[in-house]
């Protein structure tokens, strides 16, 4: 019997990066607006958001390539104000990888070590160790121009890891790879981070990437941090519609607040009736209206005479086939927008005819209240 356990926390509670009220303005435009954030030691932390949300700006400020207009950044307790990028205990994996084209793999990886003038073959040993960590053993003499995209990415990783930084910064490192390689690298990156125990800060616009790899995620929009939480909480308990929408499909249902007490919220909805849900931490009441959200995969098709404690009935209006899953669009009387439902194809969801009446089961816990 598989038991449900709380995932163990591998990282400590010690703060590695402290970002305090950081703002970065370009004239009247604020690329980053009063961001505050603590990133813990040994944590795999992701900055997630659409392009232009300020995530790369924040990463570059941690690296020292950009300076905050106001606010401060500290790494490992040390304020970074005025410290140039080359003297920070951080290393970066660039989006374009920035592999030196005039050097071979070994020379690329050893680039930062050369200056340290290590004694007695230490440099060679560390280069080989780093190459082994990224599974590039034996490719040391390969010219930089002869590498594939995935290999370039590994060289960039090895080149940063060999410096043994306190923080490794990754700027969309997987965006240039094809889907299959990207998924493989997600697993490898996560495994590598667990092995070396270094704090990783990843910038990405790919929600699945962030969900798959991170201990915690900061979701950013328009220069502001919208939510900082674990992948599960971000996905299941988004603080607002913007976060919910960005993290994948979500059905939104209008609701009227009936009662609000402590940690819970009672709302009336059309379609789902009266529902009691957890009140999100960051919930700000805005009159009597609220929004309930439910992920498409949390609605299950009820077959034949099966029944559930909580169900809604409607009519299938569209069906889209995606191989392992089928996407159904279901109209529910009383709801202004039809619900989308994803169902695995094991029981023949791909054969449900359009126009057929359908009943959907849901768990009231899957209904999440959020601010508009």
């Amino acid at each position: 019997m598989l038991e449900r356990v709380q995932p163990e926390r591998t990282q400590s509670d010690r703060v590695m990066i402290e970002i305090r009220d950081v703002t970065r303005s370009y004239g009247a435009f604020k690329a980053l607006d009063d961001a505050s954030l603590n990133i813990r030691e040994g944590e795999f932390f992701s900055l997630l958001g659409p392009s232009g949300c300020g995530k790369t700006t924040l990463l570059r400020m941690i690296a020292g390539f950009d300076t905050p207009t106001s606010g401060s950044i500290a790494v490992d307790g040390q304020p970074m104000d005025g410290i140039p990028a080359n003297r920070r205990p951080t290393n970066m994996v660039f989006q374009s990888y920035a592999i030196f084209p005039h050097l071979n793999v070994e020379q690329n990886v050893a680039y930062g070590l050369k200056r340290l003038k290590l004694q007695g073959g230490e440099e060679k040993r560390r280069v080989e160790e780093a190459l082994a960590q990224v599974s590039l053993t034996g490719l040391g003499k390969r010219r930089a121009t002869e590498l594939s995209g995935g290999q370039r990415q590994r060289v960039a990783l090895a080149r940063a890891l060999v410096m043994r930084p306190k923080v490794l910064l990754l700027d969309e490192p997987l965006s240039a790879l094809d889907k299959k390689l990207r998924e493989q690298m997600q697993v490898e990156l996560r495994r590598l981070q667990q092995a070396v125990g270094i704090t990783f800060v990843l910038v990405t616009h790919d929600q699945y990437e962030a969900l798959a790899m991170s201990d915690r995620i900061a979701v950013m929009f328009g220069g502001r941090i919208a939510q900082v939480a674990s992948p599960k909480e971000i996905y299941q308990r988004p603080v607002n519609r913007q976060v919910a929408d960005f993290l994948g499909g979500m059905n939104f249902v209008k609701a009227q607040i009936v009662a609000e007490n402590g940690a819970s919220l009672v709302v009336d909805t059309l379609g789902f009736g009266r529902v009691k849900t957890d009140k999100p931490k960051a919930f700000v009441r805005n009159g009597g209206a609220a929004t309930l959200g439910i992920r498409p995969e949390r609605l299950r098709v009820l077959w034949d005479n099966a029944s559930a404690k909580f169900e809604v009935a409607g009519k299938v209006v569209e069906r889209h086939y995606f191989g392992e899953i089928t996407h159904l669009i279901v109209e529910i009387p009383g709801l202004e927008k039809p619900l989308s439902v994803t169902e695995t194809n094991d029981f023949g969801a791909d054969d449900i005819p359009v126009g057929a009446p359908i009943r959907l089961a849901y768990d009231p816990e899957a209904l999440v209240a959020m601010a508009d």
């Binding site: 390539f65 020379q107 200056r115």
Partner: protein, 305 residues
């Protein structure tokens, strides 16, 4: 195999109708470049062949003796006057190209890395001297370096020297100064282009890996801009060896270069074969020197790693 055999006969008929020769890519390419190619052939290759042919003949008062001889090359390579002129020409062109590249690099670097929105304005400003004739530009160096020139009067005015110096004009240094100035643009442009191609994130990566500004320049920017440095050096070096006008105008007797001697052989001395031999010798030596320059810069590039 069968499919190909079945499919090929109609293809062959089509091929026979239009000549396969005219369809070949190489022929089409040649047709495309033929005007330029003919132009180059008539005005470049033929004259060079004529010069090479002459270098193996002998001047016999007013006629040319067409019997094959290497005598001209013996004179060109062993006569002290020509040897000295050749050495001086090489020395001047090497110095000029080295100085030009060293002076042009910071300018190109500044425009490329700190030019911001005004890059094209900077490049435009650099080409402005070319709006005046080269002769005028050389003459203006005479005005600057001459006995009563700007430099002398300035130095006297400041009390640094008490009588005009004659060491400024009519020697090889004057030739070097003038040529360095004249060729600056030709060095700035190729270096600028190669610097533009240097990916700025590579410099950031070097910084990220601990290099200060100087180190990242020496280890990344400079090696990656080496192609521009090489072409700048060659672009300056090759024509300056054979420069004729500048030494004539500002060189005096100490600044005479091989081209002046060649001109004399084709002109006053009327010894075309010797002039031709001197030309061919110069061409060969310049080619060797150009090759050597490329090798040296490559070697330095490797050392910088």
């Amino acid at each position: 195999m069968t499919v190909a055999a079945e499919g090929s006969p109609p293809l062959r008929v089509a091929g026979a109708r239009r000549s396969p020769l005219l369809q070949s890519e190489a022929v089409q390419g040649f047709a495309l470049i033929s005007p330029t190619f003919l132009y180059a052939l008539i005005l470049l290759v033929l004259p060079i062949l004529v010069v090479i042919a002459h270098s193996f003949w002998t001047q016999d008062y007013l006629t040319i003796d067409h019997t094959f001889t290497l005598e001209n090359y013996r004179i060109a390579l062993t006569e002290p006057i020509y040897r000295d002129l050749l050495w001086r020409s090489l020395y001047i062109s090497l110095t000029v190209s080295a100085l030009t590249v060293i002076l042009a690099y910071p300018i190109a670097y500044f425009i490329s890395f700190h030019g911001g929105r005004h890059k094209s304005l900077w490049l435009f400003l650099i080409t402005i001297p070319f709006w005046t004739s080269y002769l005028l530009r050389v003459m203006s160096w005479k005005v600057i370096l001459g006995y009563n020139g700007v430099l002398n009067s300035g130095l006297i005015g400041l009390g640094i020297i008490h009588e005009p110096s004659t060491a400024l004009l009519y020697n090889s240094s004057a030739v070097i100064i003038t040529l360095t100035h004249a060729w600056a643009t030709f060095a700035i442009l190729p270096i600028f282009v190669s610097l533009e191609k240097v990916d700025r994130t590579l410099v950031e990566a070097a910084t990220d890996l601990g290099d200060g500004p100087l180190r990242s320049f020496l280890r990344v920017t400079l090696p990656l801009s080496a192609p521009g440095v090489i072409s700048a050096a060659l672009i300056v070096m090759i024509p300056t060896v054979g420069d004729y006008v500048t030494p004539k105008l500002v060189g005096g007797k100490d600044g005479v270069m091989i081209a002046n001697a060649i001109q004399a052989q084709f002109g006053k001395a009327s010894n075309w074969p010797l002039g031709a031999a001197l030309s061919v010798t110069t061409m060969v030596i310049v080619s060797l020197m150009a090759g050597a320059t490329v090798l040296v810069i490559r070697a330095i590039q490797r050392l910088a790693r």
